[in-house]
Symmetry: C3
Subunit: 157 residues, 3 copies
């Protein structure tokens, strides 16, 4: 194995304005409390037996595997949202599935969509859904804004 | 070194329809037999002496470095293809090069293009090509479809 | 922890023409002396106490965490540039921040923009800037060209 398989995960989200598109993305990461880590984007599985934890601080500068959705726009007044959902199968020897979605639109709509995506993914695996967890965030753009939602994978402390 | 350098690699590809763009991408990963892992995208080298294996199962939820091409469209009837090629130099102390390409179009054309790209990359390094390996897949879109091809890097079992 | 936290970093940049977009990107990586590694893109922190080194060779095929900006275009005569900046806070227990920017335009303009982005990011953290380091590169496109700039994170040798 190249990397250690993650043993814990948590959900987080955030939003921000910023001087530039990347500064607003950085601000959204800070708002989500993971702005001082090095996010490594991955596609999007919760390993079997991976514990769900509350959001918690990670060491500054550490490399952190994460599944995320993000949207950044510069249209004043526009409402943007980002959401992630994880669907866990009834068979606990099987992995859970994370889905990400972001769009112009309201949080409740984006969250409903991403939950359905996760449910559908478990169904495509021929499994039954035990539970779906999700988080989403909405942002009204002033000048340049980002909405960001993530499932962070990490190792047992 | 931050990460262990991979010691094996294999080629895989897949395609799928899906409820949404991300579900069709997820379905293509399942079809390629790596849908239950956490893919970490990287640019695109086969380390020297890295063994070529047959496609095989990886632990669920593990973090897997991969070079891939993917295309997702929602135009019914459209033909889409994705391919990857690795060119290996005659000097076995030197790394091989992976190239990725996806587009609307037929598999044989996309595969020929990506093979030429890999060959050109070895030439740019001032090396001679010993061998080129490739894989490609074609998909005719019904509603929302994805074609996906990858070189997966992994460690000796 | 899933991955070891990087303990060193260096700045590099490069540019190239190529047969295709991906070949020109690959050529720019070669010009930056990291073309034979597997770059894993991440967002964008310099861990506290992370030593700044001169650019140096990395093992072929190794997986390398990197923050980078890149632009590839196919407009003959066009001037494109890529830059990265890291801003380090006066409080050395705190992480530094890397920003990336690429665009059509001249090197000095892109470098000034990305430096301001990094400075702004430290300000958003409520910290004071001790120092900003940056690198940028400019390329005039002949047929298909790439400009690339990066901060590479690595472990103590």
């Amino acid at each position: 194995m190249i990397f250690k398989t993650p043993t814990t995960h948590f959900f987080t989200c955030g939003s921000s304005e910023g001087l530039t598109q990347l500064n607003s993305f950085d601000g959204a990461l800070l708002d989500a409390k993971i702005g001082n880590t090095n996010l490594v984007k991955m596609s999007s599985i919760v390993p079997p037996k991976c514990k769900l934890l509350e959001p918690h601080d990670l060491p500054q500068g550490s490399l952190v595997p994460v599944a995320y959705a993000a949207i950044t726009t510069d249209m004043p007044g526009e409402v943007i949202s980002a959401g992630v959902a994880a669907a866990y199968p009834t068979d606990e020897t099987q992995a859970g599935l994370i889905m990400e979605y972001s769009s112009r639109g309201h949080k409740e709509d984006i969250e409903a969509i991403v939950r359905r995506m996760a449910e559908e993914g478990i169904r495509m695996r021929g499994l039954e859904v035990k539970e779906i967890r999700s988080i989403a965030v909405q942002h009204r753009v002033e000048k340049i804004g980002t909405a960001f939602a993530a499932v962070v994978l990490w190792d047992e402390e």
